[in-house]
């Protein structure tokens, strides 16, 4: 069982925000889903998923890319041709 406190902790890790009104319902549904996931405890076998893919590498050379103005067009805040983000410090 995951507690409301743990749900809040996960919401914090994911920067998702969760308000007190929805916490109880979120927690009970979370637990119902996790209970269902317990079927995975019965899985036998080993190893990672096999696939026929191989690494795709290329030389580190500059290729055409979008002009700066295009890249900035959707950004919420800009300054001097850069995207402005919330403060980190």
């Amino acid at each position: 069982m995951v507690t409301e406190k743990e749900v809040q902790h996960i919401a914090g890790l994911a920067d998702i925000g969760i308000n007190t009104e929805e916490l109880a319902e979120f927690t009970s549904r979370f637990n119902a889903i996790l209970d269902y996931f317990d079927v995975l405890d019965r899985v036998q076998g080993e190893g990672a998923v096999s696939c026929d893919l191989s690494n795709v590498m290329r030389e580190d050379v500059v290729e055409p890319s979008l002009p700066q103005a295009e890249v900035l067009k959707n950004a919420g805040a800009q300054e001097d041709g850069f995207i402005k983000a919330p403060r980190v410090m």
Partner: protein, 434 residues
């Protein structure tokens, strides 16, 4: 390239479109002048692309997805962007931030999801064909619920460049249309290698559907007709398979024991991938702006809490939990072992049969609000997720009705034998139309 223009002003009473392009330019070619709708999680240069989410409201992609490039090169007119469950997370299109799409067969029922807008637009005759995406059934489910045809191609066959990612290892872009030949035609245009998607294979699709299925072996997995599958849906599907036998196919009973944990493996995998993929939506580079005066955790949390819907937040949290230290081994690692077991089950069965057939969905389309708790909604995906976990091609073709609502026949094939599932669907379609 865009020498001409079509006028596209549909009566969208089903809320199938989020954006319509009233004057849609087009060129000449295989799809010259044909109006094609594009699901709203596929990037279209200069046309708003929201993934059905408020967090991308107003986002205008500066580039086209590879498939959209290919559509334009083939002369198609991009008619608009179709409604969807937010970021593809849902089975009904009820999770769209912009209101649900209605099922044209019965407006009190959901069209299925997450590509519900694409399916409804086709079923209502607004467009001849559309692109959808399928992470755990999101093309096949709405195709089945709305009575149209939808193909989830083999993983790697269609480039995902420009598809706004939800669960990279599972999802594919695929064609949807009224009939198998249009699905096949659209597949011809979108399949092929693209170096910008590192999981892309060089397997172009040039196939013309053939209804000749004499001698092919069809596996019938008992799990597709067992617990949780509506009896009437199972009956209609069995009758459809019987028609295929009349056309010269033989059926072989089989079993997919790993189905027991397929759904859990799917939901652990897709939510884990989503928790990483959706971290990019923070109001900095696109979408509603974050308050840059606040500290970054506060600013991101505010934007994400107020702009992501409940189901998206739930899945991000499930994935964050499944990947967190202490739980990784119990959930994510086990899900990957389960996934490998599912692939092995399919490869064992495919050593004896050519295709596998069963219902696409365990029931007909739900009434709006019928699946109010998330787990019961997840359970509806049980018959579609195995193909995504294994990366194999799967098509849904209408095969009859229950209570007046369409039922889909699902045909799954060996990896890169998309042509074969198309042929079986074509054979069935030709029987019905006779």
């Amino acid at each position: 390239m865009a020498a001409h223009e079509i006028t596209f002003e549909p009566d969208d009473r089903y809320n199938a479109f989020l954006t319509t392009c009233n004057k849609a330019p087009h060129g000449d070619g295989k799809l010259g002048g044909i109006a094609v709708a594009v699901k709203d999680n596929i990037s279209t240069k200069g046309i708003e692309t929201t993934c059905g989410s408020k967090i991308l409201k107003g986002y205008i992609p500066p580039y086209d997805a590879h498939v959209v490039d290919l559509l334009k090169q083939s002369g198609a007119a991009i008619a608009g962007k179709t409604n969807m469950d937010e970021f593809g997370m849902g089975t009904t299109t009820e999770n769209s931030s912009f209101g649900p799409t209605l099922n044209p067969c019965d407006i009190t029922r959901v069209p299925g999801g997450s590509s519900g807008g694409s399916a409804a637009a086709i079923a209502a005759g607004m467009v001849r064909m559309a692109l959808g995406t399928d992470t755990g059934g999101s093309i096949r489910c709405p195709a089945a619920f709305c009575g149209i045809v939808g193909l989830k191609p083999t993983y790697g066959r269609v480039s995902r460049y420009g598809l706004i990612a939800y669960a990279n290892s599972l999802e594919q872009i695929g064609p949807m249309a009224q009939n198998v030949s249009d699905v096949s035609l659209l597949m011809q245009v979108i399949a092929g290698h693209d170096r910008r998607d590192t999981t892309s294979y060089n397997k172009p699709y040039t196939h013309i559907p053939s209804p000749d299925i004499k001698g092919i072996k069809i596996g019938i997995p008992q799990e597709y007709f067992g617990q949780g599958v509506d009896n009437n849906v199972a009956e209609v599907t069995k009758r459809a398979i019987f028609r295929l036998e009349e056309l010269g196919a033989t059926t072989v009973p089989c079993s997919i024991p790993s189905m027991e944990y397929a759904l859990a493996a799917y939901y652990v995998t897709c939510t884990s991938e989503a928790s990483s993929n959706l971290a990019r939506f923070d109001g900095v580079r696109y979408g509603p702006a974050a308050d840059t005066k606040k500290s970054w955790h506060d600013a991101y949390r505010e934007v994400r809490e107020s702009n992501f819907g409940t189901e998206v937040r739930r899945r991000i949290m499930l994935g964050t939990f499944a990947l967190s230290s202490g739980y990784y081994g119990k959930y994510y690692a086990k899900a990957q072992v389960a996934r490998e077991n599912i692939k092995k089950d399919f490869s064992r069965i495919f050593s004896e049969v050519d295709v596998i057939a069963g219902p696409t969905m365990p029931t007909i389309a739900f009434k709006f609000g019928e699946k109010s708790d998330p787990l019961s909604m997840y359970l509806a995906d049980i018959l579609t997720v195995p193909a995504n976990l294994a990366g194999i091609p799967a098509i849904s073709v209408p095969c009859g009705t229950v209570e007046g609502m369409p039922v889909g026949l699902q045909i799954m094939g060996k990896p890169f034998e998309d042509e074969r599932v198309v042929d079986v669907a074509c054979a069935y379609e030709q029987v019905v139309s006779r």
